[in-house]
């Protein structure tokens, strides 16, 4: 019998009720990956896209050429931002369960990506996040009350009631508006970076998507434009293994790493342990310097794990083992940085407990203040006339008429 073609359906490693199996995950030992010059040619650094940059070893010691040599105070700040992100997420999840907000998305398990990257960048760099990058807001210091008011769609909602919860924006903090449509921000970040280069400025653009979203045409558009024009941009694929219920194999991760798409397009690709704060910081620093000095864009794949549900509307127990995250080989980013600080003698369980208590109080107080400004279904409401503003810069005649019509038909 001659051989016949056969359709391959990617199969996840383990399903509900089964033992978690991460044997598919290829890693490199901490400190093992060569660190090339930031201006190295793409053809000479393809190893970065298949190996995995790791700095912290199993004893929480930083090893190898990628060690960013951060001072303990900087590491403590990083830990603080990650813990704050996690506590904020947990509190907002509870608020959603209590019916106070309609929807929420946690970043549990992947906090190091946003926090380490946010810290490795300059304040002038423009960030084009996805919906799971709330750590960026912590790093850049957005008051929690402002984030919470957005989640509540209340009278102080930065989006004036127009966006789903978590779709924040912050122009003065240089964080772009989150769309909700996947990957659309990727080519926009490249365009922003092209404009910076056209204007002769040395700020760079940085954008994030999930590995599932790399299937969108916008990913390929962004990669192509970034490569063709060597735009000063860092494009991040946060490979948290899951796109709602489909694992990364359905986005094309079975045959080749996502980072390898970088060299495929003629740009640097770096695969990094996304739960290793120091490694994420180091590769971001490397890519930022590369972009800022005209040596070209970088695609970074952060290998991490979505420890929580996709969103409050999702139930992962229906498609993956309940203890999947506990068995994740790359561990937990908060625990690993905490362990590192303790090994340096710069942190302790007591100090950690005090930090958690302090941040929980901060989050709770912020929440109490935020709900005073109203919630989606209770308390003071936004002026509904706002519905007709910002469609255009000036409210055109037909929208003025519709605003009047709304008043006439619904009263008030």
């Amino acid at each position: 019998m001659p051989r016949r073609s056969r359709l391959h359906i990617p199969q996840h490693h383990s399903r509900p009720g089964e033992e978690p199996d991460f044997s598919y995950l290829e890693t490199s030992p901490a400190g093992a990956v060569r660190r090339p010059d930031v201006n190295a040619r793409v053809r000479d650094i393809s190893h970065l896209s298949v190996e995995m940059v790791r700095v912290l070893d199993d004893e929480h010691r930083p090893v190898g050429p990628w060690n960013p040599h951060l001072d303990p105070p900087e590491l403590q700040v990083g830990l603080r931002h990650m813990v704050l992100t996690r506590i904020f997420d947990e509190r907002m999840q509870r608020a959603q369960r209590a019916g106070k907000i309609s929807f929420y998305m946690r970043s549990y398990g992947e906090e190091a990506v946003s926090v380490a990257q946010g810290m490795a960048l300059r304040p002038g760099d423009m960030l084009f996040p996805s919906y799971r990058n709330q750590g960026l807001y912590m790093v850049r210091g957005k008051p929690l009350v402002e984030l919470m008011c957005q989640l509540l769609s209340n009278t102080r909602d930065m989006c004036k009631g127009r966006q789903l919860p978590v779709m924040y924006h912050w122009a003065s903090g240089r964080i772009f508006s989150i769309s909700g449509n996947l990957t659309t921000q990727f080519p926009q970040a490249v365009g922003w970076a092209m404009a910076a280069a056209i204007k002769g400025e040395d700020d760079i653009a940085v954008s994030w998507i999930g590995e599932g979203s790399s299937a969108e045409a916008d990913f390929h558009h962004a990669m192509l434009f970034a490569s063709v024009y060597q735009a000063p941009v860092i494009l991040n694929v946060v490979n948290n293994q899951w796109a709602i219920s489909t694992f990364q194999g359905f986005a094309g991760g079975e045959q080749r790493s996502f980072a390898a798409r970088g060299p495929g397009y003629g740009m640097a690709g770096v695969r990094v342990d996304g739960n290793d704060f120091l490694a994420v910081y180091a590769v971001t620093q490397w890519a930022a310097e590369r972009a800022r000095t005209g040596a070209g864009p970088t695609l970074i794949e952060h290998v991490t794990y979505r420890g929580a549900a996709h969103s409050t509307s999702d139930d992962p127990s229906r498609y993956r083992p309940k203890d999947d995250y506990e068995k994740w080989p790359l561990g937990d980013p908060v625990e690993r940085l905490k362990g590192h600080l303790i090994s340096l003698g710069e942190w302790s369980e007591e100090r950690h407990a005090a930090l958690v208590a302090e941040l929980e109080q901060h989050v709770n107080e912020s929440w109490k203040e935020s709900v005073q400004y109203g919630a989606l279904n209770e308390g003071p409401r936004l002026n509904r006339d706002l519905m007709f503003e910002d469609v255009f810069k000036e409210v055109p005649e037909h929208l003025k008429r519709q605003r009047e019509q709304l008043r006439a038909e619904l009263g008030g």
Binding site: F186, P187, K199, D218, D390
Partner: protein
């Protein structure tokens, strides 16, 4: 005053804006060294450099996506989508992003992008080089949609579009690039130099977005149209000896309802004509609006002449194109009803 065809007028608009505003950039397929397949950007890269007039890969979604990012970073991008038929890969970036960025960010972010794109048939383009998709864009909240019908308006509207802080989709009826066209392909081509609107000032001026123009005043019937059909309707009305008031809509969003409805209230009769397919075409919106505003002044049902609800067939171009014969039939129906 100098004579320009529509290509030269559009080129002049971009030349002026590139010179006046260092943030204006042009990007699109073949627009740079070559100057565009229709020559609309001819010479601009030579004059302003490769960083102001960029050749791009063939990826309309990327062109618009990148233009949005550029706009957010303070530039004023003018993109060319080589044919309106090619604009669909960019529609997610246009509909979901460009159109809504100001709204979703409560005014904190916006991208003043102009998307130029040649549309319409009559050049033997077949079903992938002849489409008129303007109606689709008018259904999206947050973008302005314009279509000039002559060189003077083309230049003034393009400058206004580039200066506008809202995104504009700018349709160029390519059959009109080199001269007005009355719908009869057997006649020799007429150059723009013979037409008053082919006289175009060299310098800066704008034609405001949101204003229709009465291109021919008349008393018996109002014809509401735009693009190539302006000249077809003129020829059809003339063939019937009708004193028609012909309105060139020019701007579909925002729509100049007052000019259109004042005319219909005066004449009591209305024919709407466009080249785009009929079903859910922009004519449906015009007809509904006119009916709502002018019902008690109408002497007859509003008529519509449009492209058939089929793709644009290569071999049957002139059976598809709503030429003067079909417009005349539509006019007679509007005039003959009691």
């Amino acid at each position: 005053m100098p004579q320009m065809n529509m290509i030269q007028a559009l080129n002049s608009a971009m030349d002026i804006m590139l010179a006046r505003d260092p943030n204006v950039v042009i990007l699109g397929e073949d627009v740079g060294f070559f100057g565009g397949v229709f020559r609309v950007t001819d010479g601009l890269q030579r004059k302003y450099g490769e960083h102001r007039v960029l050749d791009t890969p063939i990826a309309e979604g990327a062109i618009v996506g990148a233009a949005i990012g550029m706009g957010v970073n303070g530039l004023r991008p003018v993109t060319e989508v080589q044919f309106a038929d090619y604009i669909y890969p960019a529609c997610d970036q246009i509909f979901s992003e460009l159109a809504r960025l100001r709204y979703r960010s409560a005014g904190e972010f916006f991208a003043p992008v102009t998307i130029r794109t040649p549309c319409g048939g009559g050049i033997r383009g077949g079903q992938t080089h002849s489409q008129s998709p303007e109606g689709i864009f008018t259904h999206v909240c947050g973008i302005k949609v314009v279509m000039p019908s002559n060189p003077y308006d083309a230049k003034g509207l393009l400058i206004a579009s580039i200066e506008d802080d809202d995104p504009v989709v700018f349709f160029e009826p390519k059959r009109l690039y080199n001269g007005p066209f009355d719908g009869d392909p057997t006649k020799p081509a007429v150059p723009w130099g013979t037409h008053p609107k082919g006289h175009v000032p060299d310098g800066y001026y704008t034609v405001p977005i949101g204003k229709a123009e009465i291109v021919r005043p008349g008393k018996q019937v109002t014809i509401v149209t735009y693009g190539t059909m302006v000249y077809v309707c003129e020829a059809a009305a003339k063939s019937l000896g009708l004193d028609a008031e012909i309105i060139d809509v020019r701007s579909m969003v925002p729509l100049d309802v007052d000019t259109i409805c004042s005319s219909v209230k005066k004449t009591g009769r209305c024919l709407i004509a466009h080249e785009a397919t009929r079903f859910s075409g922009f004519g449906a919106e015009l007809s509904a609006t006119i009916q709502e505003e002018c019902f008690w002044d109408l002497e007859a049902p509003i008529g519509r002449v449009a492209g058939w609800d089929t793709p644009y067939p290569h071999a049957f171009e002139w059976e598809y194109f709503p030429g003067p014969a079909r417009v005349a039939i539509g006019l007679k129906a509007v005039m003959e009803t009691p």
